[in-house]
């Protein structure tokens, strides 16, 4: 169960977001500027909200009433950033192993889970390459793999398909669907694309102007969208 309740004031905007969800795959859906990435940053610990509480499965990561804020690296989140943020001076393999090595894990190639992740995300042919030589879709798959290998309790996906061309988008989407079916980890997806949300989430939190404007099961979300959006209706047929 993910519990988020945060209040934060920026110079020109306010964030007041509260939701709880027990779903395995949750989506934050809203236009850009709705505060979606700030929520992910707060969960990861990269943003310290002015007030509120964040907890996952009973573990409290942030609670302003208790003056408690667990350091970023002890939270065990897998964060897939919108811009990938692969380490440019390392091979794909070194990127993948960065998490396990940081946690003092096994340094060898047969690290527990590596084969599984490499297989799941089809990374085998990329391992010796540098990030600069990868296509956009490949980069995002590596970023997802790197986050997963850090053995996170929650996978945070920030618009993982934005900026990719159509085929790369489908490729990443397909791999994320496979990941979701495996139920390895709770997923929290941030997106402004209804199609992605419909394809990947169990439950949807609707955000607008720094506030939660609704919460619903994904079936209801998709039906609702298809009535108001002809493109969505065609896609769902």
């Amino acid at each position: 169960m993910l519990e988020v309740s945060i209040r934060h004031r920026y110079e020109d905007a306010r964030l007041d977001i509260s939701f709880n969800s027990e779903a395995q795959s949750i989506a934050l859906f809203g236009d850009s500027g709705a505060g979606k990435t700030s929520v992910l940053d707060a969960i990861a610990g990269l943003l310290k909200p002015d007030a509120g509480r964040i907890a996952l499965d009973g573990r409290i990561w942030f609670d302003s009433a208790l003056s408690l804020s667990v350091p970023v690296r002890e939270r065990a989140v897998g964060y897939v950033f919108q811009d990938g943020r692969l380490f440019p001076h390392m091979s794909v393999l070194a990127n993948l192993l960065y998490g396990p090595r940081s946690r003092g894990g096994n340094h060898s190639l047969d690290h527990h889970g590596l084969d599984e992740i490499v297989d799941l995300l089809a990374l085998a042919s990329l391992l010796t390459r540098r990030p600069a030589t990868l296509s956009g879709g490949e980069r995002q798959r590596v970023a997802i793999g790197r986050a997963l290998l850090a053995e996170p309790r929650i996978l945070l996906l920030d618009e993982p398909m934005t900026g990719l061309h159509h085929e790369a988008r489908l490729d990443v989407l397909e791999h994320l669907q496979r990941l979701r079916e495996r139920r390895l980890v709770t997923m929290l997806l941030v997106s402004h694309q209804a199609l992605e949300v419909a394809a990947l989430a169990d439950e949807v939190i609707l955000l607008g102007d720094g506030l939660v404007s609704g919460q619903c099961e994904v079936d209801l979300f998709a039906r609702d969208r298809s009535q108001t959006n002809p493109a969505m209706a065609r896609a769902n047929r």
Binding site: R85, F87, P88, R146
Partner: protein, 231 residues
């Protein structure tokens, strides 16, 4: 080489190389630390630190050398205490290293600071979410991505130290084999009748070292900008 240069001049050349090299090595850790602080931390007195950093560049070198003499000379503020624990730097090559390190320090620190500024801090937060602590982030992300700029700074500081004259001659004087560096040898030859040929030879040598250093620094600095591209 020794057919072309007199043994004394060759000795001065080697001494200058050694003093410049060691001065860069000993000042590197502090330069990295201060460069990192200036790049990443806001703290009270920051402007003061930056201003003091520039002092060796703006002060007449002879004043820096005199200050070193007042502080570290045998009768200086700390010199007597240093001598009591067996350390003498005045009129020794180690003193020349201190003078050279001080003069190269601003170049090294400012290069490190710019190199750190150019590392994408979002990569550091990515490393943090993957469980890396501050030292691991510095050693595996910040340092490799700023290595080009830091190396360029080392070369510039080396060149500055290699050419150091004013602070060195006022602090450690001119002792052959101990503190008679290349620039001091040139100055000495200029004051000797018939020393012109020697002056030209040593000046050409200095020119070669200085040009090679700036060339290497430019290439390394170029690599720094190249490595900034993010994944």
């Amino acid at each position: 080489m020794s057919d072309w240069l007199s043994p004394a001049d060759f000795q001065a050349f080697l001494l200058s190389l050694r003093i410049a090299g060691i001065s860069v090595l000993v000042s590197l850790p502090a330069a990295l630390a201060i460069g990192w602080l200036l790049s990443r931390r806001r703290f009270p007195g920051r402007i003061l630190v930056e201003a003091m950093l520039f002092l060796p560049l703006t002060l007449p070198p002879v004043v820096t050398g005199y200050a070193l003499l007042v502080l570290l000379g045998r009768n200086g503020l700390f010199g007597g205490w240093l001598e009591s624990i067996g350390i003498v730097v005045a009129f020794r090559w180690t003193g020349a290293v201190i003078a050279a390190a001080l003069m190269g320090f601003p170049l090294l620190t400012l290069s490190a600071r710019v190199a750190f500024d150019n590392v994408d801090q979002r990569l550091e937060s990515a490393a943090e979410t993957l469980g890396a602590g501050p030292w691991r982030r510095f050693l595996t992300i910040v340092l490799p991505l700023s290595a080009g700029g830091i190396a360029a700074g080392c070369v510039l500081a080396f060149a500055r130290a290699f050419g150091e004259f004013g602070a060195t001659i006022s602090f450690v004087s001119n002792i052959p084999g101990e503190t008679r560096t290349l620039p001091i040898a040139i100055y000495e030859l200029m004051n000797v009748p018939g020393g012109d040929a020697g002056v030209v030879r040593l000046s050409v040598l200095s020119l070669v070292v200085a040009f090679a250093a700036t060339l290497v620094a430019a290439v390394l600095g170029g690599r720094l900008w190249g490595s900034r591209r993010r994944a």
